[in-house]
Symmetry: D2
Subunit: 331 residues, 4 copies
């Protein structure tokens, strides 16, 4: 274990103490039908124990339907059957009131080049009149981009090579009695589209239902803050995560830890409400575990908090509020 | 000139070509009455030429009225006479349709220790029911914090030392016919509270009126993203800026350049509108100067844009959208 | 049929032409378990034909758990099991792309007096820091109000008697693959909390799934615009509706018709987006059926549109945009 | 005096007790240069005593520049010189902490027919990508409408005649040290575009500065809720108001009274914040004058409050929260 991982919440408090268990291969074949909602109505495709590792073959957000720049989303996509997810994965021992830990180990692009897809989708996007903020303006032209994506980089065009900085766009557990589109982020995770959900990070999700019903999908080769046009560098991937379980830890929203910082993640509209949710959750964390009183934590984040804009395009916007670990006293 | 500065817009296009001119000392005495609105109704306190350097003695946002932790804002402040500004400074040759360049050289704390002040002000703050988002909940307790601030750091408390990362909280030119509280950010600059407005950065403001009427004040020893409680590490400072003028450059919102990135700054409510403004202004920049077509720039920022949350507490929220210079082709 | 009803969409285009069919009594016993999500995962409790009338015994939003002013919501409610719904009701012949018509005939309070309940619920309400717009302020006190409610009026207190103006708070069809809390309004209807959804009105919902899966519940003895504290005059009721089906009518959001006006209903956050959705849907209606071009309809609603604020407290805010029938040319 | 007027705040508490004083004719010639900001920097055009009546010749929002449907706003308007205002009018005895009463008596259209103008203005409007909510979509076409407007009606087109329901779009006092565009509504009034600001209503504004500096302009022949495209039926008018002064009445936002209701008016973005401001101000009113405790008032407005959407297009959105007088105990 790396130094920081051994002191992580997952390694310290997880049922498996951060020790990797059995490896499960959730291939396309093993997955069978991909899922389009986060909920506990579908049968689990896999049952795992805390500590187990899952190697999942994820599909891109279009389920592979956009193969060339001539495959227009309006013709190839069949809403709401977009953003296909691997899962649900049943985690033994998980119950409402626990926290599911997901340590992201690796994300490798799969499939023929150009492996990455982006697109302008009608009535969607951060700078386009859209279904949530409708206008009378004529829609933007539909356009598809295909990018060569390898672990060495994302070729934006002949002149611009961008770093490969992959992350999981959609990841989380199931709500208790709902089944919600995989397009939406919420307190259970889901389509957060937050670039910090990347290899090296551990995600913590508040379990809502027996077995947690973990889902993941929608990997991105990279993305800017806000996912401006609504579609990142969408890739098929082979993604490896190690799962663990912390019993009886009540959290309100997803949390994230990596070598450098602790983050709380909020999703809401308007965007300031996502920021408020994230910062309040982080204050609660500081109060519960680091000896701050609430107003002292409020002052500290005023001077030292960071805010990452994940998405400004999904049904709820996602922001992550964080504090550097080296600014904090020991937990 | 440093390498990057010599290739900056200010050095390449400024009337003074980035060459420093006369140095003006805008001391407290020279300033006389500090100002509380951005507008062209007040007489200039100083007239400068493009290239000139101004060394300003700024007051903290409370005009020094909060001297100890027992000086409660509700007793010591007299709204709207808060956030006092140096200026207006008349810049020779500046006209509507030009751009005023402000290169920030240095910000040094002034005055006796503890030099930094933060506070919880009634009906104000990002996680408090406030005048703009009122609730029936009882207000938070009023509380004042005093921090020792030197160029070596900000002492948050006995256990936590934070880096000194100073910036100018309020900086900009005057609107054409308005006079607007120095508490508000807008397309002319003002109270942006954006930590990137720091030494090493050049700000570009769209001139609205003859002489530009530059104001500055409200320096911060440091601040987290969003300025969560509404009050950063407020300091009196000696702040040095070099001013220049680019003729006939039409921009819609403040822009910023430093060694690493180009940024466009938007201020609005709700927060997503500030993000939209910032990203659209940055797209226009990429289209005008870097050979992109609009949708190509939209795609690039989707994959490579960064978003900084300046403030989520002022009358308008301020966000900065940026792109790394090394991702761009030459201008 | 009343004059206006005979010329309604339901009477003109419905499969049953507005002629009442069989009457079904959906008593508490017949309903059995009430439902807490809108979705097609539950078995229908009733199957009806277009034209049929349903007399439903609805429960109040608390499922009757708040019997006295001493029954505190935090102790008596078990989130997410709130806002119980009658249904799902399977409507024969209904398919995605159709419109379900629900004509509201009568809403009669049920049960012992005081039959009406309102309450301040922690972390909920339009003027209270809440889960969606969190603050650090201490919560409002919890408080329960019980009101005597009859068809003659709602006794607010000894001095104030308010008119009995009942309506259905939560009404709609199921989303296609989701199951969403009955607390949320959306394009399928749901918890709109819009006082116009009252006896004398016909609601039109876009069917998303075979059988429509109609739900209803959450009747209110009356309510102000916005449902300010989050809880109207909640009653158990006997509610009578006549259902019909219009084949192949594509609408994007719920619509409403009564003797006086046509209304389109939008639900979103922030509130202006709900307003935009409602007005755009109404423009589309005017264009499709009344011979307007889009910009002409935009001008007409600028001068003659009305906007009703339904709720400003639920997960999405609901607004209804309407135009008086006598301002329009014949359909 | 009509019954209700004799019991109004203005008649009961005004310095002049509602008794009309001297009549002042603020003709176009007497006004001279119309004003484009609300502020105390301009010299008063008129000084009046409490009780005095002002008959003002107002200009339309375009200053008459749009004479035919071929006069495109982008060619004829010179931003920010739009929405010209009569005033400032100095009211003797008015001081910060007082309330200025403006009773609206009559609004008569002036000038040749067609006297009414509406238009689609680039980057403006509630269903158009605009400067505050920018998008990349192409702008809507520019279009001008001219309507015949008399006290008998507004001729929308050959088939649709709409009632003449005039009101003052922009009305208020000056902020203390600011000068703010007449396009913006705020706590001092301004461009509220709220149809209740009509003959028969009394407006109450919180005075911010000695003499109050009253402005008015921007009369509308009628308008729908929200002023959807951003431009109502703009008319030149002869408008008659009676002014009075209530000493030492502290209010936070404009209030309105007519025969039927009391209203508090809030302006903010996003729209829910305008609603919160309006409802909280109304609660404060009920608490101060009608014997309610705060939570009781909160409950009452939950069941009986009304919300009017004034504008959803201006720099701040304006909503009015009201309660019927006959629901209240005597003041």
């Amino acid at each position: 274990m790396s130094d920081w991982f051994s002191s992580s919440y997952m390694a310290r408090k997880g049922v498996a103490k951060g020790v990797a268990g059995k490896v499960h291969h959730l291939t396309e074949a093993a997955q069978g039908e991909y899922k389009y909602v986060y909920g506990a109505y579908a049968e689990p495709v896999l049952t795992i124990a805390p500590g187990d590792v899952v190697v999942a073959e994820t599909l891109d957000a279009f389920g592979g339907a956009i193969k060339t720049v001539d495959d227009l989303p309006s013709q190839k996509l069949n809403f709401p059957f977009v953003n296909p997810q691997n899962g649900p994965i049943f985690v033994e021992g998980a119950e409402k009131g626990d926290v599911l830990c997901v340590r992201i180990e690796r994300i490798v692009p799969r499939g023929p080049q150009p492996a990455g897809t982006s697109a302008l989708i009608p009535e969607f996007g951060g700078l386009a009149a859209n279904a949530g903020t409708p206008m009378l303006n004529k829609p933007l032209p539909e356009r598809v981009m295909k990018y060569e994506v390898t672990e060495q980089g994302v070729r934006f065009n002949d002149k611009i090579m961008l770093p490969y900085e992959p992350f999981i766009g959609t990841l989380g557990v199931s709500p208790e009695i709902e089944a919600v589109l995989s397009l939406q982020p919420d307190y259970w995770g889901g389509n957060m589209d937050l670039p910090d959900v990347a290899p090296g990070a551990i995600l913590y999700f508040p379990v809502q239902t027996k077995g947690a019903y973990l889902f993941l999908g929608d990997c991105h080769g990279r993305q800017g803050d806000g996912e401006l046009c609504g579609v990142a560098v969408e890739i098929n991937s082979t993604t490896t995560v190690q799962v663990d379980l912390i019993k009886s830890w009540t959290i309100g929203w997803p949390r994230l830890e990596n070598a450098e910082f602790f983050m709380a993640i909020g999703s809401a509209r308007p965007m300031e409400d996502a920021a408020r949710i994230a910062y309040r959750e982080l204050i609660r964390w500081l109060v519960a575990d680091f000896g701050f009183d609430e107003l002292e934590a409020y002052f500290l984040l005023t001077q030292a908090g960071k805010m990452r804009v994940g998405n400004m395009v999904d049904p709820k916007y996602t922001l992550g509020a964080s504090i550097r670990k080296d600014f904090l006293p020991p937990a």
